[in-house]
């Protein structure tokens, strides 16, 4: 494109002064074209981002500094009052604890099970497509429908699981009254929905692993397990990092599953499974209609997610650089060796 635009305009018939002016103008235009148009090409993203990403972010910050009700709107500047009020609420810290625990209980088993499932599906099994599509079915079920189904399973007194437990003489589990049990139940809902999706991502990554690595390993006498741990896992490392990061962000913003966990959707009478996004919703759109405090929670959640993203970034870059360092050091050593040799020969 640069070559095209800087190409000289072929001379045209006409008075010399006029021609010079025209050439000058078109050159100026070409210069603008070179300088400005790349920015114009990328501008739609930035314009849309500014409207749908940056503006809400800053506006939420503005709202969080005010006493602001859902319907009444702005009721005066209050500085950091909303934030200090939030910090003093036990409910906020409970919601962070719940979010974090549900995230741990869902993301860790989710990634492990998805990798194992993907490894199985990557084998030469019968009716491959059937099984591969099968694992995705939970993902296409609407979250609210998942909530209804699991509501029947996890009901405290007449639920399917507790009925089965008492039939074989075990004590019932208080899925809603016991805090840890409620986290487990919600994590199960999350896992049910997302394992299949992550499995397919891992499966795609596994299929991109070159077959000759496995062939070489077989010749070296490596068994299935050894192949899995020494070839498959290292080869799909970047995909694992991607899935961990996306499930971290999703896990910290978890809303649908805990909200559909009971009929009221407010997180339990003692806030057993009220996550931070639910707390935000309850503050802003619940009976309090306190949008100022909800905005403050939104910002705090944003900060928490940024911290987690930084940790993720740090850890994953450590992993990838340690990987790369090994690779590049070998390469550079080789290169250095070759230049040395060249120098020596010269």
């Amino acid at each position: 494109m640069t070559a095209l635009t800087t190409a000289p305009t072929p001379p045209r018939v006409g008075p010399p002064e006029k021609r010079r002016r025209r050439v000058g103008f078109s050159q100026r235009l070409s210069r603008w074209d070179v300088k400005v148009s790349p920015y114009l090409y990328v501008s739609p993203f930035f314009i849309i981002f500014a409207i749908t990403g940056l503006f809400p972010l800053l506006y939420t910050g503005w709202v969080s500094m005010h006493k602001w009700t859902l319907i009444g709107g702005d009721a005066g500047y209050t500085g950091f009052d909303n934030f200090t009020a939030i910090f003093q609420q036990g409910e906020f810290w409970l919601s962070l604890r719940n979010t974090f625990m549900i995230f741990l209980l869902s993301s860790v088993p989710q990634v492990i099970i998805a990798i194992v499932l993907a490894a199985i599906l990557n084998q030469n099994i019968r009716a491959k497509t059937f099984w591969r599509m099968g694992v995705l079915i939970p993902y296409i079920v609407a979250p609210v429908a998942v909530g209804l189904i699991f509501g029947q399973l996890f009901a405290d007194q007449y639920g399917v699981i507790n009925t089965a437990l008492s039939a074989i003489g075990l004590p019932k589990i208080g899925w809603h009254s016991n805090t840890f049990a409620s986290w487990t139940a919600i994590a199960t809902m999350v896992n049910f929905r997302w394992i299949g999706y992550n499995t397919l991502i891992f499966l795609a990554a596994m299929q991109a692993v070159p077959a000759d690595l496995y062939e070489a390993a077989v010749i070296d006498g490596a068994g299935r397990m050894r192949q899995f741990f020494s070839i498959t896992l290292p080869q799909i490392r970047s995909t694992i990092i991607f899935v961990v990061i996306t499930s971290t962000i999703g896990g910290l913003q978890i809303f649908d599953e805990p909200r559909t966990f009971d009929t009221y959707g407010t997180g339990g009478p003692s806030h057993q499974w009220e996550t931070t996004t639910m707390y935000l919703w309850n503050l802003g759109w619940g009976p309090q209609q306190n949008l100022g405090r909800a905005a403050a929670v939104a910002w705090l959640l944003f900060v928490v997610i940024v911290i987690f993203a930084l940790i993720n970034y740090f850890v994953s870059s450590r992993i990838s650089t340690s990987d790369a360092r090994r690779g590049t050091s070998k390469q550079s050593r080789g290169r250095r060796g070759s230049t040395d040799r060249k120098g020596a020969t010269r």
Binding site: L70, I71, G72, Q152, G159, Y264, P269, S270, P287
Partner: protein, 446 residues
């Protein structure tokens, strides 16, 4: 290609400029529309207009009924938008109200539970007072929709006067009288009190050997009791009462908590939860407070269970639970026409047809006297004369609890504590009361 070159950046600039302008237009379009005023905006009486009415669940407004309005008002077409649940409708209502009223229907159905919001932001709604409809409703129904300055903000549709629904078969099995009149008498008849109700309950639970509870849930029972206080959580000027020193509420809380759990009167369910819905089929409890609309829930949850009946009695006098209004948002384009339409829709004749459709017990004095309502019977409840029973129950309602902007947050703090104690078996009566007080303090109401 080369000859067109110089104009390319210009075209691009124009295109970019156009897209920015389009975005700007969209944004301004979003922000316009909140300049609503309370005055009428229908200039020409014969202008062709479309009115929308937004309802939820089943208001019993059929297409034929709405079409019949067009017959008398040829210039008006009526469209109904129905939300599946009142929660959906409430979210839609408050969100659009927060956006300045843009997108709200011309006539909006509002549950009595959201009326505090309407009363709090009365400027966003049309004053519906009109001498023509002055004595149409029961006094306490009108009072629920009247702002402190006397504006009438909503036209009543249905009401929820409470009676006691009970399982006649279980009463009989464990040696209690099972005829409705006898049951009413057993609970104290006209002087029925909560103490008497709990006392009979303790007797019943003892006779059943603890197998069947007396009532379904602590929160449903508490809801019925708190609905009989004039100022449960707030003073009439809207200022909240400090929960820590609110002796009435503390006494109610302790009463319901000890009766439910320590005396074992409740089935340890929370209303509307999965277990609660399932418990109707399990002979888990024998009585519950029931407004007319609850009879439909009992019938659908009980599927196959026979033996329900209704006693014309309610502890502590009368009580109301639920019921709705039609309001006219001021941001609407045809507020005058909408007001006229809302008045027509809540007239006794139309409400009678809604009662036939959906069992929504009318709030209009005339409609209640009409034989179609007064003589109606419910065959699921052993042919109970529901028309008569609920008319008596509506007449018995003497107290309209004051529900200010903080009613629901404070009420939630108390019911959460009740549920934590009775349904989830946590802590003691005292520790849960303290939790409720802490939750109240966290609201920062001062």
């Amino acid at each position: 290609m080369l000859t067109h070159r110089p104009s390319r950046p210009a075209r691009r600039l124009i295109a970019a400029g156009a897209s920015v302008a389009a975005l700007a237009l969209t944004l301004t379009a979003c922000s316009s529309g909140d300049s609503g005023s309370g005055s009428s905006k229908t200039q020409d009486a014969n202008e062709k207009i479309t009115l929308t009415v937004a309802t939820f669940n089943n208001f019993g407004y059929t297409d034929e009924l709405l079409a019949s309005y067009t017959k008398t008002h040829p210039n008006v077409t009526v469209k109904q938008e129905i939300a599946a649940t009142s929660d959906d409708a409430k979210a839609n209502f408050t969100t659009k109200l927060a956006a300045g009223g843009a997108g709200l229907a011309d006539v909006q159905a509002v549950d009595v539970d959201w009326m505090p919001t309407v009363l709090q932001y009365e400027d966003k709604f049309t004053d519906l007072s009109d001498d023509a409809v002055k004595d149409r409703w029961l006094d306490w129904k009108t009072k629920q929709a009247t702002a402190p300055d006397g504006k009438l903000l909503g036209y009543g549709t249905d009401i929820g006067p409470e009676a006691i629904c009970y399982r006649a078969d279980l009463f009989k099995k464990y040696g209690l009288p099972s005829e409705p009149d006898k049951v009413a008498e057993l609970l104290g008849g006209k002087d029925a009190s909560w103490d008497k109700y709990f006392q009979v309950g303790e007797d019943f639970v003892k006779k059943s050997g603890g197998k069947v509870a007396w009532y379904d849930s602590p929160d449903g029972t508490y809801q019925a009791m708190v609905g009989q206080l004039a100022n449960p959580y707030e003073n009439s000027d809207g200022t909240p009462k400090d929960l820590a020193t609110n002796a009435d509420i503390k006494a109610l809380f302790e009463k319901v908590a000890t009766e439910s759990k320590d005396k074992g009167l409740s089935a340890h369910h929370q209303e509307w939860q999965t277990d609660w819905t399932a418990s109707f089929q399990k002979n888990a409890f024998a009585t519950m407070a029931c407004p007319p609309w609850m009879t439909a829930s009992i019938e659908s949850n009980s599927g196959g269970v026979k033996g329900w009946n209704i006693a014309n009695v309610f502890p502590g006098g009368g009580g109301n639970w639920g019921g709705s209004f039609l309001v006219v948002p001021a941001a609407g384009k045809h507020t005058a026409a909408a007001k006229e339409f809302a008045a027509w829709l809540t007239a006794p004749e139309q409400q009678l047809s809604a009662y036939k459709q959906a069992n929504n017990y009318p709030s209009q004095v005339e409609a209640e006297k009409d034989p179609a309502v007064a003589d109606s019977k419910n065959d699921f409840f052993n042919n109970a004369p529901v028309g008569q029973i609920f008319a008596d129950r509506a007449a018995a309602v003497t107290v309209t609890p004051f529900k200010g902007p903080n009613y629901f947050t404070i009420n939630k703090a108390v019911t959460d504590a009740l549920v934590a104690y009775d349904v989830q078996g946590k802590g003691t009566v005292e520790s849960n009361w303290n939790a409720a007080v802490d939750a109240y303090k966290a609201l920062g109401l001062g």
